[in-house]
Structures are given as C-alpha cells and as structure tokens.
C-alpha cells in the first residue's frame, strides 16, 4: 500500500457518506416527522376525567361500548378552525348513532372564550376543558389539532396529528369499530 494515509482518508469519507445516507433515509429532519401517528395506537386509551363547559364531569369510562372520537383543539389554533367544518359534518352524519360519541378536549384556552366560540359555531358535541394539559399529556399529544379514535372496548384504534377531514374521520371511526369486534 503506497499511500496508506490516502486510503484512510477515503475510508473515512466512505464511512461518513454511508452513515449520512442511512441517517437521511431513516431519520427525518423534523423531530416530529418520524411520528406520523401516535404511540398509543393499539394500546389502551388513557382515561379522560375532565369537566365540560358547565362543570359537569366528562369521564371516558361512561363511554365504554361506544366508538369515541377524541379531538384535541382550541379556539385560536388555525388548523383547528380549518377542520371544524369536517367535524361538524361528521357529527351531523352520526347524530342519530348511539354508538358514536365525540369529545372535544380544549387546552391553552379560557372557558368564556371557548363557550362563546362553541355557541357561535354551533358545536353540538361534548366539549371538555383540560386546564393543566393532563389529558394532553396522557394522550401524548404534540400540539393541536390531534384526533384519536377509541374503540368500544377502550383501545386506541387510530390517531391523526393535524387537521382531519370527513374521510379521515370516517376511516378512524371504521377502525375503532373494527377494533371493537
């Protein structure tokens, strides 16, 4: 070997390029990019024990037997505002379905603001306040909006980070129903 230093330099370059290719294809630059779905999918859903806008308890144990869509949102989040029509359409489609429930969980917001918004937008499903972000913490949310579908037997069947549309909501509901059978 006439130029060992050159070969070593080439070896270092090959190693660095090879590992760079591996890292580029395996790990996204956005720390959230490698989590397109929740770690909770397939496992038991955390219990929700919150209060609604009137102070009544919202307890997920009372929803056992129903497929539940849990939607984390707040009034000032623009994507949350964008997805609202889809949620309203979905709620209207399943208004008469006793086996489907929707629970909106609000954090980083004030009750009067939320109450005014709910009234102005005609939101008809249960809205619960999460003032200490405990529910958000339990669900491992990464911001809002984030939506989970829970099967009738309490398993997280689907999750979506970012605004939902009617198609994704129906897909999550179907997954929740399949999980429960």
């Amino acid at each position: 070997m006439s130029h060992p230093a050159r070969w070593i330099a080439i070896a270092v370059a090959v190693v660095v390029v090879g590992i760079g290719v591996v890292l580029a294809t395996q790990v996204g630059s956005d720390p959230r990019a490698d989590t397109t779905t929740s770690q909770l999918v397939g496992g038991p859903a955390p219990r929700l024990a919150l209060r609604d806008l009137d102070g009544h308890t919202v307890d997920s144990t009372s929803l056992t037997g129903k497929a539940v869509i849990v939607n984390f949102w707040n009034t000032w989040c623009v994507p949350c505002q964008e997805e609202l029509p889809a949620l309203q359409s979905f709620a209207a489609s399943h208004r008469n379905d006793p086996d489907v429930a929707i629970v909106g969980v609000v954090r980083d917001d004030t009750k009067p603001t939320v109450r005014d918004y709910v009234k102005a937008e005609g939101i008809g499903w249960t809205i619960a306040m999460d003032p200490g972000s405990q529910a958000a913490l339990a669900f491992g949310t990464r911001g809002q909006p984030e939506t989970f579908a829970i099967s009738p037997d309490g398993i997280v069947a689907g999750a979506q980070i970012g605004p939902v549309n009617e198609h994704s909501l129906e897909k999550m509901l179907a997954a929740a129903r399949r999980q429960g059978t």
């Binding site: 230093a5 591996v22 890292l23």
Partner: protein
C-alpha cells in the same frame, strides 16, 4: 524526546478535561434537581428544538410537573425516560439513546477521530522517512557556473 513532549502535554490536557467533564457530582440531587436535569433531556412536544426545561408551553409545564411527581414517587430517570418514549416515541429525547441508530450518532465522531488521527500519524511517519536532500559542493558549483553563464 523533545518532539514527543508537546504531544504528551496535549494528551494530558485532553485526559484532564475529559475526566473533569465526566466526574460525577458530589452529593445526592433532590427530586426537583433531578427533574430539572431530566427536563433538559426531553424535547417539548409542541415546539421544535426546545427542551421541556426551556419551553413555556402548557405541555412543557405539565411534563415538568409530571417529572417531579414521578421522581418523588420513586421512579428512576431511566424508568421515566422509558415511559415518555413509550408515549411519544424516540423523538421525545433530545439526546439519542446509545442503541439502534443512536449508536451511529454517538459512535461516528469517535470513529472519524480515530481514523483521522491514524491517518495523520501515518502521514507524519511517512514524511519523517522521506530523505532530506542536501546540496553538495559540486551541486553548488554547478549552479554558480550556470548563473555566471546566464549573466554573460
């Protein structure tokens, strides 16, 4: 010997700095201090790049409170990290773990350093072996004669 002394001194300095950085702190940290240290290792779920310790979002505040509660209840740092990885995924950790792809992140600088140092040592040894050329009296005379004939 004189040539080795600067390298030896550099090596001693490097070892001292590494030892100082890695030396464990004296005394037992409180759960609050341990929670604060752990908070610097976790990424705020709501924001890119900020640690839970540095973020002021409600998620970060909730996580900080949860860390204090868990550590006060007797959970170890590893158990808490594992719980958060199970909930949020590996990306919740600001520092990659030392397994899986994390091995590449931690190991690559060491590999590159070792290979680079080895290459440099080989290059230096090679340069030292190369013959030193000295002009002889005959060479000097030939150059002088050539210069004279150029000026003439």
């Amino acid at each position: 010997m004189r040539r080795v002394l600067p390298w030896a001194a550099l090596g001693v300095v490097v070892l001292v700095v590494l030892a100082w950085a890695a030396w464990p702190d004296g005394g037992t940290a409180t759960p609050r201090e341990r929670a604060r240290d752990l908070a610097t290792e976790l990424r705020c779920p709501d924001c890119e790049g900020l640690s839970v310790a540095d973020s002021s979002t409600s998620s970060a505040r909730a996580i900080r409170a949860d860390l204090r509660r868990r550590l006060a209840a007797g959970e170890t740092e590893d158990e808490v990290r594992r719980a958060y990885v199970d909930r949020y995924g590996e990306s919740i950790l600001l520092k990659p773990e030392g397994r899986g792809l994390g091995v590449l992140v931690w190991g690559l600088p060491v590999v590159v350093f070792v290979l680079g140092a080895g290459g440099l040592a080989l290059a230096l040894a090679r340069w030292r072996r190369e013959p030193q050329l000295h002009a002889t009296a005959a060479d000097e005379a030939l150059v002088d004669e050539t210069r004279r004939s150029d000026h003439a």
